[in-house]
């Protein structure tokens, strides 16, 4: 039987890649004690975003554990012009994004010469500062970290291109190291420089991108951060900190701190202890930097309940 023809497609002015990590424990409980899976919440939001963008090509990669007798540990949903055109399982063999990149390159309809607005969104646990094993339940020996993630971003891009906006819906990835690693791959970054509640960042602001000026990625980043911040602060009583990083402005300003942190990583063993860079006199140069927009609300309880401000950057 011949495959069903794909529906005709209109212009594709937006290239969006969601990578949703669900290959581990993502259980959390809402305010009423109802159990929810964070990756499923993110998946629903990604689908809603994809369906609300008639001029976008949206890849939604769901990295998950293996189920039943299949060896597949990922699912791809591909949307064009607001309609799902493909849903298929795939197999990941490594800790990085190699399997996703191979599928993307094989399936994208956006020509390398085209210049769409490009968005990359990652939902998961904290991406380790240095590559570590244990991140993926189905691949316990596979290594993953900021460097493999940054390499992965490059894999989705034509040469000499960057994402207009990268979003890391994870804990503790608003660090100088992350800024240095991602600056060659993205113009703006939205990330949390502290713990981020498992329910993830809301992405409702990404609906109907065609109604916006595609050049204003910085504005889009700020609006996404603000909406996610508003939604989280209403629901959770833990710390909520979301930062928008203008990577062109920031990368040279944090280069020295990033190098120092990298040197610390090389000699460090065990679990990293994260803290606000603004609390460390050795990183006083990072206080009040241009290019960082900080949204912060202290936790309702705990030692930091009286902490009035956050530098927007996390150190260790």
């Amino acid at each position: 039987m011949a495959p069903a023809p794909e529906p005709p497609t209109g212009p594709l002015r937006y290239a969006v890649v969601f990578v949703i990590h669900g290959d581990g424990s993502y259980l959390f409980h809402d305010e009423g004690g109802k159990p929810l899976e964070a990756d499923q919440v993110a998946l629903e939001r990604a689908r809603a975003t994809a369906e609300a963008n008639p001029e976008a090509e949206v890849f939604v990669f769901h990295q998950r554990d293996r189920r039943g007798l299949t060896r597949e540990n990922g699912t791809l949903e591909l949307y064009r012009n607001g309609t799902i055109v493909l849903r298929r399982g795939y197999r990941r063999n490594s800790g990085g994004l190699e399997a996703e990149i191979a599928l993307y390159r094989d399936l994208t309809r956006i020509a390398p010469s085209a210049d769409p607005q490009r968005l990359f969104l990652y939902f998961g646990h904290q991406v380790p500062e240095r590559p570590e094993s244990g991140y993926h339940s189905s691949l316990p020996r596979a290594s993953f970290g900021l460097e493999p993630l940054a390499d992965g971003l490059a894999g989705f891009l034509p040469p000499e291109h960057r994402f207009d906006l990268a979003v890391l819906s994870t804990c503790n990835n608003g660090t100088p190291t992350a800024i240095a690693a991602l600056a060659p791959r993205a113009r703006y970054l939205v990330a949390s420089p502290a713990d981020l509640h498992l329910s993830h960042l809301a992405t409702g602001t990404l609906a109907h991108l065609e109604r916006r000026d595609p050049m204003e990625a910085g504005l889009l980043a700020r609006e996404l951060a603000l909406a996610a911040f508003g939604e989280l602060t209403e629901r959770v009583s833990t710390i909520v900190t979301i930062s928008v990083y203008d990577l062109d402005t920031l990368a040279p300003l944090v280069a020295e701190a990033a190098a120092e942190l990298q040197a610390r990583l090389a000699g460090a063993e065990g679990v990293l202890e994260f803290y606000d860079c603004g609390e460390d006199p050795r990183f006083s140069s990072l206080a009040g930097l241009p290019g960082v927009t900080v949204l912060y609300r202290p936790p309702r309880f705990g030692r930091e309940r009286t902490k009035a401000a956050h530098s927007g950057l996390q150190c260790y």
Binding site: D65, R66, Q126, G134, S137, C171, D195, T238, G270, V271
Partner: protein
């Protein structure tokens, strides 16, 4: 001969199925820990008397701290696992201290006990991944069993 064939068939099935279930083992036990704290929150919210609420929180936190203490004494843990467990234990200890107004904390007011229990669940669900991921499934299983048995 028939019994032998059945035994071989069962062994083959187990050999095929075991890795599939092993993938999810750590996730399931991590989830069990999260459910432990959420069950506590629900019990606290159902209880009317503030003294009983506080007692429930204290009892569960102390049971958890005792379990963590015993697990950390296991001889086969490596340094990274010990450190991860100690840090997670410190997170839980801090909740216990705040609840009771020690170690520099003001005691959580009676009117805030439900909110505090909710905060505790959210905070530990977040923290757990940072610390417990470095442990092995075996350690998590031991923690859960100790909590249940203590």
């Amino acid at each position: 001969m028939k019994r032998f064939r059945v035994a071989v068939a069962v062994l083959l099935l187990v050999a095929i199925a075991a890795p599939l279930f092993a993938d999810n083992a750590q996730t399931k036990w991590e989830n069990r820990l999260k459910e432990y704290f959420n069950d506590l929150l629900l019990k606290v919210e159902e209880t009317k008397d503030p003294a009983e609420k506080r007692a429930l929180l204290n009892e569960s936190l102390e049971r958890f701290l005792t379990a963590m203490d015993r697990v950390q004494r296991l001889p086969f843990l490596n340094q990274e696992q010990r450190e991860a467990l100690a840090r997670f234990e410190a997170e839980v200890q801090e909740k216990h201290d705040e609840l009771n107004g020690v170690a520099g904390f003001a005691m959580v007011a009676n009117a805030d006990l439900d909110d505090f229990a909710g905060y505790m669940v959210q905070d530990l669900e977040q923290a757990m991944r940072s610390y417990v991921v470095l442990s092995t499934a075996a350690i998590i299983i031991i923690i859960v069993l100790l909590i249940l048995l203590l």
